[in-house]
Structures are given as C-alpha cells and as structure tokens.
Symmetry: C2
Subunit: 215 residues, 2 copies
Amino acid sequence: MQGVETIKRSSSGSGLTERQGAVLEQALRLLVDGGERALTTAGVARAANCSKESLYKWFGDRDGLLSAMIAFQASKVRTLDVSGGVLDAASLKAHLVAFAKDLLDVLAGDVSLALNRLAIGQASREGSKLGRLLEERGRRQIGRRAGALLEAGRKAGLLAFSDAEEAYGALYGLVVSDWHLRMLLGENPSGLKKNFGLRAERAVDAFLALYGRKV
Amino acid sequence: MQGVETIKRSSSGSGLTERQGAVLEQALRLLVDGGERALTTAGVARAANCSKESLYKWFGDRDGLLSAMIAFQASKVRTLDVSGGVLDAASLKAHLVAFAKDLLDVLAGDVSLALNRLAIGQASREGSKLGRLLEERGRRQIGRRAGALLEAGRKAGLLAFSDAEEAYGALYGLVVSDWHLRMLLGENPSGLKKNFGLRAERAVDAFLALYGRKV
DNA sequence: CTCCATCAGTACCGTACGGTACGGTTCGCC
DNA sequence: GGCGAACCGTACCGTACGGTACTGATGGAG
C-alpha cells in the first residue's frame, strides 16, 4: 500500500483503464454483430483476449458489463455545442437541419441500435435499469443541445413557443416519426437510409411552419 | 380418413383450435409479466396445463410459438372503419383526435409493449422475421385506417397534401414523438400516462396547422 | 367392449451460459 | 535476483433451457 497508484487511466476520465476500454470496444462489436445472444462472457473474453476472471473483477457481473458498455459508448459521443454568432433566420434553419440530420445519423448507427435493442429487451425485468441509463446518457444529451438551440431561436425572436419541451417533442416527432422503431425492428437494408438530408430539411420546414415567427 | 373433421375451430378462423388459443393467451400473459426470459416452453406448458409435446406439435418450435403469439394478438385487434357520413372540419378533427388517442392507447398497451420488446430483442439475428410480422400485422393495419381518413379529408377539400405517406408520417410523429421508445425502455410508471387525450388534441391541432386547408 | 388418436405429465438428453477456481506467465518494484 | 500483483487461458460447476421420448389417462368411433 505504498506506491501503488501508477494505474494508467484512459483518455476519458471515467475510471477505466485503456485495457478495459478496449475490452468494452470488443464487447460492443460482438453485440452489434450478433445481438444479445452473442454477448456471452466467454465470447467477450475470447474476442478481447482477456480472461473471464478479469471481466468479473472489473465489471462485477454481466449486468455491470452491460452498464459499462452503455456508459462507455455514451462517453465517446460528444455533442458539439452550437453557441455560434448571432442567429438569423437562415442560420437557425441551418442549425436545425444539421441537428435533425445528426439525430437521424445517431439513431441509425449500428451501436446505437444494438444498445437500444439490448436495453429494450432487458426492460421487462429488473426495473429497466439499463433503459434509464441509456435515456439519461443519450436522450438527455441530445435534448440539451436541441433545447439550447430552440431557446436561442426564441431569444432571437425567430421562434415562438411557450413550452420548450412541447416544441422539442414536435421537432423530434417530425424528424424521426416511426423510423427509429422500424429500424429497431430490423427494417433497414432497403437503401432508403440516406434520404436523411431530405428528411431533415422537410421536417425542419414543417417545424418552422409551426413554431417559426412570421417575418 | 372419413369422418375425421370434427375439429373445433376457434372463433377467428385462423386455423387455431380454442385450446390452442387459450394456450397462446397464457403465453402472452407470461410474456407480459416476466419478459422474454419468462417465456420458456416449460413455463408455458405449466401455465396452460398442457404438455411440452403438444406445444411442439402445434407450433413446431419456439419461434413458431412466438410467431403464433403475434398473429393471435393481431387477430384480436380490429380497427373500426370510419366511413361515417360526409366530413366537415369539426368531424374530421374529431376523427383525427380519436385516431390519435387510439394510437397512443394501443402503443401503451401491456401486450403491445411486450410483443414489441420481444420482436426488437429478436431483430438482431434471424433476419428480423418477427419484426416484419409485427410490422405487417400492426402498423399496416393502423396505417390503413389513417390513410383512409386522410384521403377522405382531402377529397372533402379539408386537407392539402401531395404525399399521403409523408402526411401520415407527420401525424404519427406529432402524436407519438419519442413516447413509444420511452415506454419500450421501461419509463412508464410516472403517472403521465393519461394525458393521452390532451396530447392527441394538441398533436392534431399542429397537424391541421400544417396540412389543413385554410377556411 | 375394443381400438385408436389425442393429450397431460414427467423424465430425460445435449448444450450453453454465468460465475468461480486454479496453474502459469508477465511485469513492475524493492 | 526475488517478491507480489495483475492477468491470461482453461478447466470446472451448477443450472436452466430447447427439444424428444415415454407412460398413462380420456374420450370418441366402430
């Protein structure tokens, strides 16, 4: 108990060593490729060239591993702050379209879909611990970015709404509709995956028709 | 091979005997209560007072049982046709609000949530067979009802849209937003489950602001 | 009554998983 | 060099599940 603190922390200071991060990376890969059934402790250990004993030492049990995977993935997604110069109508729309496209891209991502499927499958039992974690780390973040953007638009006199949450819900619904659920159910490969730009633009147009201030 | 056709078919002529329907009912109950892990062949046999051998005889294997559960549940949900008299603005809005509220009620139902969780969890492997089945039997039906309603509104000169699919997507998104996903992730018990009437009304107002013809 | 099909109940088998324990190896530190 | 911690690889254990086989009971048809 003297000089023992030379542990190499990972880049993101979330108490994980680089080795553990690499293990979580492999675990995510397994999950994306084969779903929850492929995510066995033996499989993770084999894919990551580590021992099961280490897995249990680092993450406690299987649920701890799942939680660590979600936290790890969330820590890699950084929502770029807007906070650009002053807003005019054109730049607000551009920011909204960029947000909408980013949202669609994130939701359609392999890892996001796999983690959402995992948390949803786990939601029945155990009080949906993973679901709440995923919501906290994922939706909360992107909701903050949207909230800031909407608030900036209102301050600039370009948007009119009373309840920010309601306006955000409308924006989200117009952008995503039932696409997220359909992708979660497995309906993707039909190439209709890259109208995201067009989808985003039309959704923002509709949103502005609802909440944009007449000029 | 003479008089052997005294088999008692169930009420819905989907080739299922009443006994088999009762078994599927118990299976759905198990799924709703305990999630996929609780839906074991032994558990279903015990809950339904039948033998595992009968289960495999009737449904082939576990996947066949799951598919039968989805088909069985879908066969019980009947979408009432609209097809009332002529539409005016008030009755169109009333129909839209009723549709929106029904949609929210269906999506928030125990069995619907459990089946969606099941299909989503299964979507990674096996080409998402269950997902497509659920989409065909569920979304297609309710989409037809909405499509007919929107088309009637357009014929009556009350709605203006070029792409019916796009208009339906906007309506769905405004009504549901991310509520379905949040419920799938397990975030329900906070009593905010019965603003459905209010939610439906506001969403329809927004939809009419977008696609309603100025009077 | 007898035959036959169906079905409940149970025992059984192979497999696969979560979790633990142990031997052997590397590596930093005194 | 020698010590100890961390760790890989693997073997191991208990359990639980999907699926199959067998026995006995029921009930309808001839």
